[in-house]
């Protein structure tokens, strides 16, 4: 329980720090503060898909349905965070570039990612046998994750994008932010990551409880 209270205090601290600590970016102004919410949410989505990939591999190796349940939960949370990143990004786009959607490479990539992981759940709901569903969706999740680094990190850097391509990591893979921005960004990232872990654990507990009930 204590870490959940600490998390609440941490997130409140991040919310205040976002508006007080870093100076607004010179070109975008105050709207640049969206970066501290929008980017961590998108990163958590990638982390969730990575976790889904790892548990899918584990399922195929050990054939334990627990791993399949964990992979499915991680994908569901990944989809939630992708949706949040898309909505928050399109509000930013409307204010900065004039329209909610521009088919910018990063927007197109995230749209494809939404379709890919949407299809994962369509596949899961189409197969009735538990083992067959777990095996098929594990293979699908592994294949789906292979597209993630390409869609998230490569495509936006190949094509001209409205998004700043090197706002977090530059082409030499170096972090390039002044300390107040870096500290606030890492703090926000940590807050969202802990929140993700909490939701993941809750989902897993629910899954265990409902499995117990169906067994009884």
């Amino acid at each position: 329980m204590w870490w959940k209270i600490l998390l609440l205090i941490w997130i409140c601290g991040v919310m205040v720090a976002v508006f007080l600590l870093p100076a607004p970016q010179s070109q975008l102004g105050e709207i640049s503060r969206i970066f501290f919410f929008h980017v961590p949410v998108a990163w958590i989505a990638v982390l969730a898909f990575l976790i889904s990939f790892v548990f899918s591999l584990l399922y195929l190796r050990k054939k334990d349905l627990i791993y399949d349940a964990k992979a499915s939960i991680a994908s569901r949370l990944g989809l939630l965070f992708v949706i949040l990143a898309t909505i928050s990004g399109s509000i930013f786009a409307k204010s900065t570039w004039g329209t909610f959607w521009n088919w910018d490479p990063r927007e197109t990539s995230i749209f494809i990612l939404l379709l890919i992981y949407g299809a994962y759940f369509a596949l899961r709901s189409a197969v009735e046998s538990e083992e067959r569903r777990a095996a098929l969706s594990s293979v699908y999740a592994i294949l789906a994750f292979i597209t993630v680094p390409f869609l998230v990190f490569v495509v936006p850097r190949i094509y001209q994008s409205l998004h700043p391509t090197d706002s977090v990591i530059n082409v030499k893979l170096h972090l390039q932010m002044p300390p107040p921005i870096l500290i606030t960004f890492i703090a926000s990232l940590l807050g969202f990551t802990l929140l993700f872990i909490w939701i993941f654990k809750l989902e897993f507990e629910i899954n265990k409880m409902s499995n117990k009930l169906t067994e009884e």
Partner: protein, 36 residues
């Protein structure tokens, strides 16, 4: 629209989204508790 309002709307969208997801989990838990 002022940039501060846009930042506020984006922040609210993210937290309201997470809140509704947690609300959905809460409902699931209540349903399971009733069954138990």
């Amino acid at each position: 629209m002022s940039s501060n309002y846009v930042t506020m709307i984006v922040t609210l969208v993210i937290w309201i989204g997470l809140f509704f997801y947690l609300l959905r989990l809460d409902r699931k838990i209540k349903k399971l508790e009733k069954k138990m």
